[in-house]
Amino acid sequence: MKLVTAIIKPFKLDEVREALSGIGVQGITVTEVKGFGRQKGHTELYRGAEYVVDFLPKVKIEAAVSEELVDRVIEAVEGAARTGKIGDGKIFVYNLEQVVRIRTGETGKEAL
């Protein structure tokens, strides 16, 4: 089991979500985050006091999937989230130790 985490541009969320549904990923968790990589921030100016804001708003998507699905998930996210400009984001894949469905108590692959 793997946890696939993707940091994407916020306006790409709907597209990515549809792409994931399309390949059978049934649940995701979405968080609003901020960060930066190579994309530069912007400057805010208040009455002559300048603030450089490095952080840019992004969206983090996490999906717990079975190992067989990982490659297709990566492909789906990449395809939906790419704009070709700096700041598109990254995808991280973690090993998932254990998964439990709280309602039923199922564990492992059945809980995915």
Binding site: E44, L45, Y46, R47, G48, A49, Y51, V53
Partner: protein, 511 residues
């Protein structure tokens, strides 16, 4: 110890309240409409003085029936009073509040609301008397201590206050209430300078001192006079002039408080910014406004309310109130434009904060000028104020080097000074202004030929300089006293955590 102090203060306030209610029984004071009618802006002469004001007075009082307030004037003045209250709560509160970080929002709202309330109470106890009764050229007396004599509850009669027109009066209570809002908002303006690090009790203690020794005297010096009805003949002119405030006697023009309110408060703020010291992290950490939306709401309420502030300062619903009204409209709009243009040219973008600040700058600058200049003059004043105050919050701020958190001096100080000086220019009949009354016996104005812009500007400059020095000195002493007794600043940890939670035990926005 603290509880003891609290009980003591509570007891004192009950005593004050009790005394005030007893002071309403006035003996013979206000029941004499004739005597009351000659009460000017309002010099509440004690009954003995009114009676002793000579048979000549009684004769003229007998000849002309005592003026009675016009219902339109009275209604207008009450509405104006409401508008100025709205300027402070919530206008100024939101304007300032939106500009600070969210962890300090409530502290700003508190400082504004509680300062305003404190000053209004003190006004009714002794402030009004010190500012608007006969005393000397610098301060009034105690004729209206606890508002005594302002109405006669036994007879059901009300003392009158003068306007700027002969034979026109408004109830003195309305004048006193109107002026209470001015005292209140002037003091709350100062709060912007030392926001985000000041101790709440220090604010209140400072306000009591500064209100008593700076606001009241300057209000008296600039605005107190005997009223037009006191100028019954050439023979009394010198005597009547001699009873007025010192700056009034010089002939300084300040329609609604460029000196009394804005320069006065701005200097107190700047001194405070220096003496309280910079915020922790100033210049390094982001201290960006947390809600420019609320700041815009506040600025809009200020603009709307300011029509009461300026037009209400005509003291009646007449043409000059209308002139002040339209000037408040035009100058502000012009300043919004000039600030926005200035910012766009200088920094590349016109900002919401800039537009809101521009509006306030225009309002400040037109305050002394509102009923004293023509419509074109008002537009020019607004235009200049927008650019000047933009410099005030950028270039000048860097030169001064103080952390004037909400740019009280940059806007109110620079705007007030510009407005006061330009009033001397655009008041001239040759530049579309109404000029000033040269002879209060006949109520005739100065002619265009006789008007000297240079000498009027010099008079305005003197008024500005006296205000700056007086306010500066009083502020330095007041802050020092507060610092030596209870301390000005909160601790570093409290400042870092935020004043809302540490000073008031609340958060503005529940997470």
């Amino acid at each position: 110890m603290k509880k003891l102090l609290a009980s003591f203060v509570l007891g004192l306030s009950l005593l004050a309240g009790g005394t005030m209610s007893m002071a309403q029984t006035p003996a013979a004071t206000a029941s004499e409409p004739a005597a009351a009618a000659s009460v000017a802006a309002p010099a509440a002469a004690a009954p003995a003085a009114a009676a002793a004001a000579a048979p000549a007075d009684a004769a003229s009082a007998a000849a002309a029936p005592a003026p009675v307030p016009n219902k339109g004037d009275t209604a207008w003045m009450m509405v104006s009073t409401l508008l100025v209250i709205l300027m402070t709560v919530p206008g100024l509160a939101l304007f300032y509040g939106g500009l600070v970080r969210s962890k300090n929002m409530l502290s700003v709202l508190m400082q504004v609301m509680v300062t305003f309330s404190l000053i209004v109470v003190l006004w009714f106890i002794y402030g009004y008397s010190l500012a608007f009764t006969e005393g000397n050229a610098y301060i009034g007396g105690f004729d209206r201590l606890f508002m005594k004599g302002i109405w006669d509850n036994a007879a059901g009669t009300f003392a009158n206050g003068a306007t700027f027109s002969k034979g026109v009066v408004i109830p003195e209570i309305v004048f006193a209430a109107f002026q209470a809002t001015f005292a209140g908002i002037t003091c709350t303006l100062i709060v912007g300078s030392f926001a985000e690090r000041i101790k709440f009790s220090a604010v209140l203690m400072f306000m009591v001192l500064w209100f008593t020794f700076s606001y009241a005297p300057i209000a008296h010096m600039v605005w107190f006079w005997m009223g037009p009805d006191a100028y019954t003949g050439k023979e009394v002119v010198d005597a009547m002039n001699g009873k007025a405030g010192q700056i009034w006697q010089w002939g300084a023009l300040d329609f609604a408080g460029g000196t009394v309110v804005h320069i006065n408060a701005a200097v107190a703020g700047l001194v405070g910014a220096f003496m309280v010291g910079k915020r922790i992290g100033y210049g390094k950490e982001s201290m960006a406004p947390h809600s420019l939306t609320l700041t815009m709401v506040g600025a809009s309420l200020l603009w709307v309310g300011w029509f009461g502030f300026n037009a209400g300062s005509a003291l009646e619903a007449n043409g000059f109130a209308a002139l002040a009204f339209i000037n408040t409209f035009g100058a502000t709009a012009a300043a919004v434009l000039s600030w926005s243009v200035g910012e766009a040219l200088h920094k590349g973008k016109a900002s919401m904060l800039g537009a809101a600040s521009g509006a306030v700058a225009g309002l400040v600058a037109i305050t002394p000028a509102a009923g004293n200049v023509g419509i074109g003059g008002a537009l020019v004043i607004g235009l200049i104020a927008g650019f000047a105050c933009l410099w005030g919050v950028t270039g000048l701020k860097k030169i001064l080097g103080a952390d004037d958190t909400l740019d009280v001096f940059g806007v109110h100080g620079v705007g007030g000074i510009i407005g006061a000086l330009l009033t001397g220019v655009f008041n001239s009949p040759s530049l579309g202004g109404p000029g000033f009354v040269a002879d209060w016996v006949t109520a005739t104005g100065v002619t265009a030929a006789d008007y000297s812009i240079a000498s009027q500007v010099w008079i305005q400059a003197k008024a500005v300089m006296v205000t700056i020095v007086w306010s500066g000195v009083v502020s330095i002493i007041a802050y020092k006293i507060v610092d030596m007794t209870i301390g000005l600043r909160v601790s570093e940890e409290d400042e870092r955590e935020g004043l809302d939670i540490t000073s008031h035990g609340e958060t503005a926005y529940n997470r």
